[in-house]
Amino acid sequence: MTTTKRLLLVLTVVLCIAPLGFPQTPAAPAAATPAAAPAPTPKPITDADLANAPVPSADGRAKGDPDGSLTGTASDVTVSDPKKGLTIGDLANQVGQNKIAINFVWTLVTGFLVMFMQAGFAIVETGLCRAKNANHTMMMNFMVYGVGMLAYWLIGFAIQEGGVGAVANLGGTAPLSAEQMIHVFGKDVGIWGKNGFLLMHHGTYDVSVMVMFLFQMVFMDTALTIVTGTAAERWKYAAFVVSSFLMGAFTYPLFANWAWGGGWLATLGANFGLGHGYSDFAGSGVVHAVGGMTALAMGIIVGPRIGKYTRDGKPNAIPGHDIVLVLLGCFILAFGWFGFNPGSTLGASANGNLRISSVAVNTMLAGMAGSFGAMLYMWIRYRKPDASMTGNGLLAGLVAITAPSGFVNPVAAVIIGVIAGVLVCLSVEFIDRVLKVDDPVGAISVHGANGLWGVISVGLYADGTSNYGGSWNGVAGSVTGLFYGDAGQLVAQLVGVATLIGFVFSLSFIFNALIDWFVGQRVSAKAELEGLDIPEMGALGYPEFVIHAEAASVE
């Protein structure tokens, strides 16, 4: 190291630590103020006052507005009657439109972030699979977006949201007002929605409904793509298309209706006194556990890959082909999660939506804690900080915080994340060694086990400080878990868990067993050994790379 470099290094260190050594000058105390005189009664604003509102002159505007002080003034408020000029009514309408516009933009942009998560899932799963299946794995992740969207547009959205009723943050969504009800245990409970097929049915060609559709659609697609990871490297492509369509049209929307669309799980609080009913802020249960339970059903039906287990049932590790893709994909997913959780307020303005900052921070903290939990577990147990499991730990933390992100404080978020990081490692080992269900990417553990953990954690750690418009699921007050005094909330969450394990798994199993019965879910052994790229897709993912690898193995 040269003298100049040494000097620069010393200077940098001194500059960095110097502020720590200097006493900090306390902020000047606020000047003492005399006791305030009683405030005068505010004078009501009239239309005449608005007529005198300062607006920039045309000449001033023509010179440009480099500091932004002339742009966005009273002159930009839409006037309903030019003869009357600006009125209080115009102003109130503009305020209302601004609120809804903020919420529209927030929900749409966060939806776009969630859509980008598909890219993250695609490269995580492809990286964890072998190069000979790269085209097939990538294509499943690519087309699950289209297949799922088609099913959801045709059928799924109406089942899920057709009876959700008015969503105040989005200006009403009034056309989504038809929920099929049944009478059980002396209560009327919702089981599916009936408005919104093709987004044209019963007035659903509506700006608020369109926002709702886009946001809910990308969530649904996240659930669908979880299954492609578990069944990768042996799933028949045609069977994948049919299976994904059924999940996007029926399985996912049904549970999502029960939790988010005004269905019976959401009203467990109002109808049966269980806290605020099943509460799943952004979808640990609705999205991730539904995907995880379906993945478990598929993993059982499709069976392990050839070579995964020895004849006496001992598991073999089948490493993926690109850890760089895996960790890059995890980062993309973590980025997209800032749409997933904070976006689930469906708005940034009014109704307690400023809590988006808390939701976002909880999300990033739990992801960090999950990656630490998994990394330390693997480091201690196997002497190496395994990269793919650390990535899965990050995702596990994010999955687990998805349901509680809107209801818990940062310390709870870290606890939930750490537990998720360790849980994903234990779950992978259990599924691999005890259940002997082959899950190439660990999707059942990441999304299934941790999705369920996230649902339960709401019932434990919700601290009762959230306030989204004064009530949640039709019950006044804030969602509060067992550790803060409401055991009923935990029971509501567990009823949700029982529904996911008992009902969602069964429905997914029936659909996929029928597909297996009629067309078969699994490719031939020959195709599997050869790699699915040519037999299923007609082209290799990496032609030169595969040829080189085969040659190397012969040598």
Partner: protein, 62 residues
């Protein structure tokens, strides 16, 4: 046949959990019944369905 029984047991766990809403009025009673339902469903999945499929697993065929 085992598949059908496994599915029915899995669904039975769900039914037990839902029935807890009317069979018990206390939070504790409901909690016990819901946990019982979850256990029954897990037995249906892991103890019946998965075990049945493992009998014909590809790695047992040599």
């Amino acid at each position: 046949m085992i598949i059908l029984i496994g599915l029915l047991v899995t669904l039975l766990g769900f039914v037990i959990s839902v029935l807890s809403l009317t069979l018990a009025s206390s939070v504790g009673g409901r909690l016990v019944l819901v946990l019982l339902g979850i256990a029954v469903s897990l037995f249906g999945i892991m103890g019946l369905l998965n075990k049945h499929y493992l009998k014909n697993a590809i790695w047992k065929k040599g």
